[in-house]
């Protein structure tokens, strides 16, 4: 199966008077049709920049300095070769946005216009991207609310008349207006309570099963992805640290950063574990030190970390081995911590 979205070697910088902030550095990530990929990282790790850079939603001072983003949706390519979003004209991009790739933005709680009714905002999206007669457009708006389980009479509501969870559902409905192939969700549940959050996540999974779109789910909360994602990519300081199937990554985390993240959130069930968290704070991306950016916070750091080239290698491979691997493999950017080292009991 060829990926529907293939980000290769993408780099994004923010031009500032104090120098370039290297927000995303040589990141490659694939999204397969119908798949949920979780992109996880702290604030400032570059996860949102990666998503917006890949979809051409950044503007100056942000600058894409390398890479390609190939989109292979059938409707657009007619089964031909994937197209590079970064090489498209603005006119061509209009055909991609919403119909092919839709986004549920961060702080969706505030992304709705407070002075327009839900109906007007849904129609806005529908009319901009689908050429439907008036009556059909109205029917489509009502169907979208059906889709996310909101009663149709809420079309006449203003955003303030809806609960946080309902507003979030409206945002999701809006993203699905033109039946996209890829939906990017940027922290869609961050401001919600756990119970509502659970409902929204379940709804996303259910809609994905029904409509068959692929999801790139961005969050700082790895625990959400345990439930939701098929694969997880862990990002730190603009780099991918580890990618792998959710189960593999959770049960056998390879990178020390991922291990730290997994040891950061308290569990509600089972015995009380000793929690360690990750001491320290992320590096300054204006002047990154060579090698692994996590080394200053890493308890396994050795002098060789300064020479690590941050390419993703199979977790079960010997250090230094290079092979072509399928995108589903469990990869890590840390050549220092290997399964062998782990087994010898050097690592906990």
């Amino acid at each position: 199966m060829s990926p529907i979205l293939e980000i290769s070697d993408l780099s994004v910088v923010y031009r500032t008077s104090a120098g370039d902030v290297r927000a995303v550095e040589h990141v490659s990530l694939e999204l397969n049709p119908g798949e949920v990929v979780g992109l996880c990282g702290e604030s400032g790790s570059g996860k949102s920049t990666l998503a917006y850079g890949a979809t051409r939603l950044l503007r100056t001072p942000a600058l894409v300095t390398s890479g390609s983003v190939r989109y292979g949706g059938r409707r657009l390519t007619g089964g031909g070769d994937p197209v590079d979003l970064l090489a498209m004209t603005h006119h061509e991009l209009r055909a991609v946005r919403w119909r092919e790739i839709a986004i549920v933005f961060q702080s969706a709680m505030n992304a709705l216009n407070p002075v327009l009714r839900v109906q007007e905002q849904l129609l806005d999206a529908i009319n901009a991207h689908l050429k439907l007669p008036r009556r059909e457009a109205h029917e489509k708006a009502a169907e979208l609310l059906d889709l996310v389980g909101i009663p149709r009479n809420r079309l006449r509501s203003y955003p303030h008349e809806l609960s946080g969870g309902m507003r979030q559902r409206v945002m999701i409905a809006m993203a699905l207006a033109a039946d996209p192939e890829v939906v990017i969700m940027d922290e869609p549940t961050t401001a919600l309570d756990v119970v509502v959050q659970r409902d929204i996540l379940a709804q996303i999974v259910e809609l994905k099963e029904r409509l068959g779109f692929a999801v790139l789910f961005i969050t700082h909360d790895l625990s959400l992805l345990l439930e939701l994602a098929d694969r997880i990519a862990v990002m730190y300081a603009g780099r991918l640290m580890e990618t792998g199937g959710s189960q593999d990554l959770i049960r056998d985390p390879a990178h020390p950063y991922t291990r730290g993240l997994l040891n950061s959130f308290p569990s509600i069930r089972g015995p009380r574990r000793e929690l360690t968290g990750i001491p320290g704070s992320p590096p300054d991306l204006r002047d990154p030190a060579p090698g692994c950016p996590f080394a200053p916070r890493c308890s396994f750091a050795v002098p060789a970390c300064g020479a690590v080239d941050m390419t993703l290698e199979p977790w079960d491979a010997a250090p230094g081995a290079v092979h072509r691997v399928p995108s589903t493999a469990h990869l890590t950017a840390c050549p220092i911590v290997t399964p062998k080292v782990s087994q010898e009991g050097v690592l906990s």
Binding site: R169, D193, V194, D199, L201, Q203, F265, S267, G270
Partner: protein, 383 residues
């Protein structure tokens, strides 16, 4: 745990019976809901083992008039104590009333029922001088470190002000500010004095907020979602810092959160709020491992479980109407248990009568008519 009792524990005379105090505005006639049914239980707080009682909520309530005669009970008959050196967690969803309780304790809101007592004496914040004296003892940490610091002032200014205000005897304010920064582990402290909030990360800003609250040398710290705006990876560090401050300064700490898992690790006692009421309370480990109230059970079932992937989403009821029952948390007052319209165990009685807290063990209580079903393992031993 030898004599768990269900129902009908005699209330001690010193404790409130939930009767509105005389200065409360008269409830409009349309307000059909009744007071909680049953004697409120006297719970021995596990937090009391840590130190003496500092701040106490006694039958605390706050009503808001909605117009057309409707009343919203943002907080209702809330009673608990904060003890020196102990952490009490107040857990609930948005709109459950937990911030209202914190504001009542902080003196920012006036209760319409009940009272707040500081070291046994009723709190009076009637004048600005008295309010300032009260704030010297009871300090508040806000949720959002991105908006609670003034962007035009330095860290040093934020900390020097409360030192001058609350500790007029201090000669060397600069040294006091450095001490505060070191207390919250913002080191090297001298480097942070001249920084502006925008130069700090979220975690560093929240440390400044802690330091600002501690500048008054308070006995009680009310922390309203102190880590929910921070990244998962640094939450633990911040809770560790709070825990360290609690033990070093013997603070009585109220930890407000919607994350019951963090309460398990951090708190001595957990109070679960729903619809403005405490629906369950007890030792943190007991409440989280053997929840008695159906709402607590739902809350815990909603937390992702690393050992059983997918379980939470499988159990969620999705689709049309999945979110329909959501609005029931806080709204205009209705009769019965506030959770009854979402509760899988609700019977007619639940919709008509509002249950009071009932003792499960001497230090645990829950407010539910269906405890025999919801927490059969806890209640079996009664018979």
């Amino acid at each position: 745990m030898t004599e768990p009792i269900i129902n009908g524990v005699p209330a001690s005379s010193s404790l409130p019976s939930g009767v509105p105090v005389s200065d409360a505005p008269a409830a409009p006639a349309v307000n059909a809901d009744a007071e909680q049914v049953g004697e409120p239980a006297v719970v021995e707080s596990v937090a009391a083992a840590r130190g003496p009682l500092a701040l106490e909520a006694v039958g605390l309530g706050r009503d808001f008039k909605l117009g057309r005669g409707q009343v919203l009970h943002a907080a209702r008959n809330v009673s608990f104590g904060l003890y020196r050196g102990a952490v009490v967690a107040l857990v609930g969803e948005s709109g459950s009333g937990k911030s209202t309780v914190a504001k009542l304790l902080a003196g920012q809101e006036r209760p319409t029922h009940g009272s707040v007592r500081l070291e046994g004496k009723p709190v009076d914040v009637g004048s600005s001088r008295r309010f300032r004296q009260y704030k010297r003892q009871v300090q508040y940490v806000f949720q959002d470190p991105f908006s609670s610091l003034n962007p035009t002032h330095t860290v040093g200014y934020h900390l020097a002000r409360p030192v001058k205000l609350h500790q007029p005897g201090v000669k060397d304010v600069k040294a006091a500010v450095i001490d505060l920064l070191e207390l919250v582990r913002l080191t090297p402290a001298a480097q942070f004095v001249g920084k502006f909030p925008y130069e700090l990360s979220g975690g560093q800003r929240q440390r400044v907020s802690f330091a600002r609250a501690l500048a008054a040398k308070p006995a009680v710290l009310l922390a309203d979602e102190p880590v929910s705006m921070l990244d998962v990876s640094i939450r633990l560090e911040m809770l560790g810092l709070l825990n360290d401050l609690r033990s070093r300064l013997s603070l009585a700490l109220l930890y407000i959160t919607h994350d019951i898992a963090s309460a398990r690790y951090f708190a001595d006692e957990v109070l679960v709020m729903y619809g403005g009421q405490i629906v369950e309370r007890g030792p943190a480990e007991d409440v989280t491992q053997r929840p008695a109230h159906p709402y607590t059970q739902l809350l815990i079932a909603s937390a992702p479980d690393p050992d059983d992937l997918g379980s939470v989403l499988k159990s969620a009821n999705v689709g049309a109407g999945g979110g329909a029952a959501r609005a029931g948390n806080v709204g205009p007052a209705a009769a019965g248990c506030p959770f009854s319209n979402r509760c899988p165990l609700a019977i007619d009685k639940c919709k008509q009568e509002n249950p009071a807290l009932q003792l499960l063990t001497p230090n645990r209580a829950a407010a539910c008519w269906r405890l025999d079903v919801a927490a059969s393992s806890l209640t079996d031993s009664v018979v």
